[in-house]
Subunit: 424 residues, 2 copies
Amino acid sequence: MVNIGIIGLGTVATGVVETLQMNREFIEQKTGRKINIKKVLVKNIDKPRKVDLQGKLTIDPDELLEDESIEIIVELMGGEEPAFTFLKKALNKGKHVVTANKELISIHGRELLELAKANKKQLLFEASVAGGIPIIRPLKQSLASNDIKEIIGIINGTTNYILTEMTEKGANFQEILAEAQEKGYAESDPTADVEGLDAARKLSILSSIAFNSRVTPEEIYTQGITQISRKDIQYARELGHVIKLIAWARKRNGEIECMVSPTLINKKHPLANVNDVYNAVMVKGYPVGDVMFFGKGAGKNPTASAVVADIIDITRNFEGENIMGCSCFMNRKVVPYKKIESQFYIRMSVVDKPGVLAKIAKAFGDNNVSLSSVVQKNTAGDLAELVLITHKTVRENLDAALEEIQALSQTREIAIVLKVEGDE
Amino acid sequence: MVNIGIIGLGTVATGVVETLQMNREFIEQKTGRKINIKKVLVKNIDKPRKVDLQGKLTIDPDELLEDESIEIIVELMGGEEPAFTFLKKALNKGKHVVTANKELISIHGRELLELAKANKKQLLFEASVAGGIPIIRPLKQSLASNDIKEIIGIINGTTNYILTEMTEKGANFQEILAEAQEKGYAESDPTADVEGLDAARKLSILSSIAFNSRVTPEEIYTQGITQISRKDIQYARELGHVIKLIAWARKRNGEIECMVSPTLINKKHPLANVNDVYNAVMVKGYPVGDVMFFGKGAGKNPTASAVVADIIDITRNFEGENIMGCSCFMNRKVVPYKKIESQFYIRMSVVDKPGVLAKIAKAFGDNNVSLSSVVQKNTAGDLAELVLITHKTVRENLDAALEEIQALSQTREIAIVLKVEGDE
């Protein structure tokens, strides 16, 4: 019998308890052990619960952390503190740890992994990225033979749902956000999702593993989806693209380029068909080529799947001395986003007069930005809307061009700049 | 340093050698060990090779199997014998084994896994299914928490390429097969691929792991793609489907239903967009829901990715006492295909006379087969082509109906019966 202690009893933890109950029999057959939930740390013991854990709830963390019979701590409370303090203590007390806490791992992953290794204990966190989709373990094991070149994915279900709905209904961001909140697909404070922070945390974990070098969320240029209008979605469609919140990281000349940003993805790209709350991560490497992992990236059951798989894995390898520890044995530079080369989509409104386009084209040309397509749209009154897609260029060249264009008396607004993927 | 011996030096083995050379540095960093190819068993030492292995080639298997300094045997020769004999000897000699041999694992997997466990050695075979796409390890580990309900996938690249080309060019099987052979996408003897045997071997491995019960290739009803005409592809398209060679297995009432067959997949199903030589495997389980794995399922580099990842995994866990062994701890019955419930597509030609359709409809009705759609096609002379899709029915009811229809004097030919997926 293996005793586990669970920290937190929200949605995911409830799913974990249910999974351990529902699939109890074959989990025992697979592991040769009975997994026993001994204690669950909660804030409020008297709150009604969906699962029967009578006599196991406690508000005292030490009832888990100081209990020597508890061999695995499963942390599902989320947030940086006090989770960090709890898990350090758990590892120092010789307990294995499973966590779904992307915030914690993205900030303190290295320290916790090193502490785990020092204590010869496992720290597993498959559920921290893309819910039930296996991605951490495949990167660490099944693809360990690969020189990973690039990761590109949709790793936030809330924003993918919102963008899918905006695309299908031709609606604006605010309307769909309200709808998503009603349906429970978006939180009442949706900031971490819609501003891209959640995706940046997950990308920091994925790229740290893929490139064997620490990438923190702060190092990732992050743009949310709040500025995306239905106009952009419409124009993108006309140009053969779909707008998705894309998490992207690439190794180039030994350095790491990475970004979370709403991106025009070519309709033929496999990620263009990943809709609603589904997530997908594509990994490009040598020798594997392209592989993609697809599924539901959040929610009670998919996340519980990953958490319980980690518990099973620890249960199977209890005596194993072989702890992988932190795999960030390199120290790669993260390239500032201004230096990253990409194609870009720009929407701007200008006064519709002869010679304006020539001035704009000159500003791009003077800054070494060449244009792939230029479309004039929705002229209203004396204003014309220009939609442009550049060839590949570094962002600082584009910004220099846009600065010159902004200074033109005929320019009313540079409304939005978005990354473009999958064309060149 | 870890010494390995490789059996065979064909395409995949060449990719393995190249990967170990190209990615040598970081593989050493990841594992803390140098992986040294000590000996390679070949049929002909003098044949020119693409990789430099001077002095390491041998035609004597015992130079690998009897060499105590070789700790891992990598079997890439394929086929049942002598691979089986070699690997039994390797395990008995206390060596770990990595193999890409689906034929061998599908037939002797249990025996080899038990032998490995008895010798406390690893037997890994990620490359045996879907090349570089991680699927064996995810099923055994990342999804270990799940009650797997169903597996559905495209796991043969050759047939997927042929069907994709037939679809895109409106061409017939024989034309595209010849083209695929010229391009090296199909072998000169394409039987194992086009008759579905290769897919059945892979499905037997996947379902044995997923359902924890041995499924042999012989137990899997297998239908190849040689009978598919461009007409069927055209009719399927008009009915909102794409024809794919689908490997499918489901757990139902504790028993296993499985089948490899050309199948009309609804265009909205994620597998409908998996084209060319790409493979994809979708796994459905509780609690994870649906997850899909996508990538190139064959070829030198993708397969080498999986083989070398297995080598790395063994290298990392050398001292591990924890060998997973065979996971088939259940003994589930495999349902005869006649008892499997599904939707079906039928194309037949009949004499175009009043009352014929009524007789046909009666035969279906009398056998409890209800029809979802009936389309009359391409009437030529006094013959009409009928294309029907049934609602869900067990195959034996359908066959009884078709026997009655076959016996009608107005029936000229029941040309083909195909499974339909993703509608109901």
